[in-house]
Symmetry: C2
Subunit: 492 residues, 2 copies
């Protein structure tokens, strides 16, 4: 893997001086094209061995292009706000919007390799981490991001020579610390481990470019040209790289039996029992979220459901049990301009709670496989891949201590009709009913199918769905509260 980067590649100063002005003008022109079109973001990842000129290359890129439209992030120790969220949260914060170039310095590839070299993790764990990286980058590419990855390599001899040279020069001595030499001793292990990681995370859509780091001229030109080539190709392409063609969408079951059709919609609760149960479960939920152990967890609660199924009422009964200082309800409507310039999951990542907190999403990332699917707001390939992306996302939430609870509130067609009519005639509720609601109703069969597919594909052990028959509001609200209590209790 690294052999070609140990050949002692060199570019003479004469060649370098001839090529650089042309390359700079080209890169700058492409950067302004990218900015003007603003149709996709560019993500440049920089990784590799110490002393191979990563930092210098970064500075040269800033010099060659317009630094105002480059967003560079280097990742050192995590801040406490970062530590309380999934590992990937800090990287999601750093993603560039459409039209900009983001450079991530030592991002998601670093920790898995360093942890393995330090003996903190097993090889199996490294492989697993690599799998996830592949899935993440696949998703970014499918969302339109141009991902360019550069791995800077040095042979053992070359690294030693470089560290020695840096140390000998009074101007650069400060850069070499004991840590660098300690890490040099682990060179062989680092090489072997990163070989595995680089191999496993090099894919057709986001391959690593291995760059020999010993000659500055060579490394700058290699990286600069690769960026120019990739940018030019992509900008010339009117349509983004075609996503993998998905299989035909799942067919409904032959016998028509689904999670929705087999639900008992007659379940109900008398008002008297409701009052009692409400008080009991709200009390329990309050205690659970104040539990000592909950301070090291968080809860992410998703409410989805049919129009007029009583989602709002259920959300409100749930939050009344909570201290207003510790929860937040995020209503999901059309994305803002800043959100539209990012992958679709970005707007949910930005609202993830710290430890000890509850975030309730009133509608959620499932819009992708519900309304966007049914209304054709995204391509079939996009919503087909979303199931896996969502499962990956929720897995990360769970691993970071998040308790993920998801509700689908459903009512029968007859009940919905009755509620729509009641809303229309009530002066107080008429604002709740719009022509869109009636239109959605006509597509009931499509929505049903989307819901069944969604539950089939995203009902996981770590983030299960609760499908709630909501013809009776009292029954539905208590079921929501009871489920919340059970899930949190089981997690603590």
């Amino acid at each position: 893997m690294f052999e070609s980067a140990e050949l002692g590649h060199r570019i003479t100063n004469a060649d370098y001086d001839r090529e650089v002005p042309v390359l700079r003008a080209r890169l700058l022109g492409l950067q302004y094209d990218l900015l003007a079109k603003a149709s996709f973001p560019v993500l440049i990842m920089i990784g590799g061995v110490d002393g191979a000129g990563k930092g210098e290359t970064l500075n040269v890129l800033h010099e060659w292009m317009d630094p105002r439209y480059i967003v560079t992030s280097a990742f050192g120790e995590m801040s406490d706000e970062e530590r309380e969220r999934p590992r990937m949260w800090r990287y999601w914060r750093a993603l560039p919007p459409k039209g900009r170039i983001g450079i991530l310095f030592g991002a998601w590839h670093s920790d898995p390799i360093l942890d393995r070299v330090a003996g903190k993790t097993s090889e199996a764990e490294l492989v697993r981490a690599a799998e996830r990286i592949v899935r993440l980058e696949r998703m970014l590419v499918d969302e339109g991001t141009l991902v360019l990855k550069f791995w800077f390599h040095l042979s053992k001899q070359a690294q030693k020579a470089r560290l020695t040279a840096l140390e000998a020069d009074p101007k650069t001595r400060w850069r070499i610390t004991d840590t660098d030499w300690a890490r040099f001793k682990l060179y062989d292990k680092f090489r072997k481990t990163s070989e595995l990681a680089v191999r496993r995370t090099s894919t057709g859509h986001a391959p690593w470019t291995i760059v020999e780091g010993s000659d500055p001229n060579f490394r700058y030109l290699t990286v600069g040209r690769a960026i120019a080539e990739a940018l030019q190709r992509r900008l010339a392409d009117a349509t983004p790289a075609a996503a993998t063609q998905p299989l035909a969408p799942p067919a409904p079951p032959l016998d028509g039996r689904t999670v929705l059709s087999t639900l008992d919609y007659r379940q109900a609760l008398p008002r008297k029992d409701y009052r009692q149960a409400l008080e009991k479960h709200q009390g329990a939920l309050n205690l659970l979220t104040r539990h000592r152990k909950f301070r090291q967890r968080s809860a992410i609660v998703v409410f989805e459901g049919m129009d007029a199924a009583g989602k709002g009422g259920a959300v409100r009964r749930a939050v009344w049990a909570l201290d207003a200082r510790h929860y937040r309800v995020i209503p999901i409507a059309a994305p803002t301009e800043e959100e539209r310039a990012q992958p679709y999951l970005w707007r949910f990542w930005r609202h993830l709670p710290r430890l000890g907190r509850v975030t309730i999403f009133d509608r959620s990332w499932y819009g992708r496989v519900l309304v966007e699917r049914v209304e054709g707001f995204c391509a079939e390939a996009d919503w087909m891949r979303a199931y896996g992306e969502i499962n990956d996302f929720e897995e990360q939430l769970a691993e970071a201590g998040g308790i993920v609870v998801k509700f689908w509130l459903t009512i029968t067609q007859e009940e919905q009709l009755a509620r729509f009519r009641a809303r229309e005639t009530s002066p107080f509720k008429s604002f709740k009913i719009t022509p869109e609601d009636w239109r959605n109703r006509e597509k009931a069969a499509d929505y049903d199918r989307a819901v069944c597919d969604m539950v089939d594909r995203t009902n996981t052990a770590i983030a299960p769905w609760a499908v709630v028959a909501a013809n009776d509001k009292y029954f539905a609200r208590i079921m929501v509260l009871r489920t919340l209590c059970e899930r949190i209790e089981a997690a603590l």
Copy 2:
């Protein structure tokens, strides 16, 4: 001040039960109006003595209104990301956008009072903090925010009774800790201190409402009604509360001598000297930003200037001296949708650097008193008040360790014309010149006047302007670098 809140106010349950349904419907309706219009944000501040029902009132407000459109923030210990910025940064992060209600629980009023009670600060410091709060709230109100402040009060006896009662009830015992009793011992001091703070921060545009906290019915209705009244008045008002009528804008000096007219535009530097000076100052700047002491500071650098004055070139020469991992350039163009829903300084607060970092603003908050003033994008009253607001902002940056450096790059009319013409004919630079540039040129006199007023009003000891004659690019770039070095060196 607090006497009226020690009278034992009470509302009977019968009255309460009769009024609440009406009030809830009214609040909810107003909240949806606010949301639909989205023309201003509502900020509700909650402060006061322990045990006076602040938290319960907050929960009741969430219950009465739609919690999806309320953004509540409680402020405990600072996170490390917050500690590395000005004190107010955490509150700016929590401001609600237009159309939403933000509730701040123990925000900017808390620390000054608690610090004073704990004897950490003098009374003069408390008064100074109160001054600043008044200025901040004045700015928010001028920006359109509806600010409602509720101070919850209990007499000493009532507080004791309340703490004892909470402690006796097994359901609420957990809420009372030793800290509460320790703070109770300081009741008199707390009362005296908060009396001063409340008095000093109660203004016509953002007065405190003192709420007696002993009777739940009374406190909920008092707060709920006050919110409904204020919302209704403001929503009925087509135009926001008229800002204070400003004096006539400053007249230009009678003899025509200004910071611009007295500048020596002939200053120049030969290319050979430039090369040498560039290397020398870039080296010095690099060392300064890697200085041990700089890790506890940050630099906020503002670049403003005439069209074609060479701002971009100067920015690039400056950043080449820096490590790309430690600086960020923020180009300021039209605000995004999320930024337009906030006070105009919000978009700059969000980009403030952590310690050890450099943030360069390519155009800045001075747009308010330059382009917005000249083009009439904001009212005269708005840009007239901006000078003071900007000085307050920069003072906060400086106090948090920020080194604020501001450049105005200026060229003569003849030089600008020559550069415009050169740009038009250069195939590589023609994108840099637009019809807008020609239009701006026609308003040169207005811009000059705006620049002179800006420098006169915001050239402060903590954040001085460097007015750079930029007819000669080499001279200008070196002057920028040298000024940066001098300012940072002086600060370290």
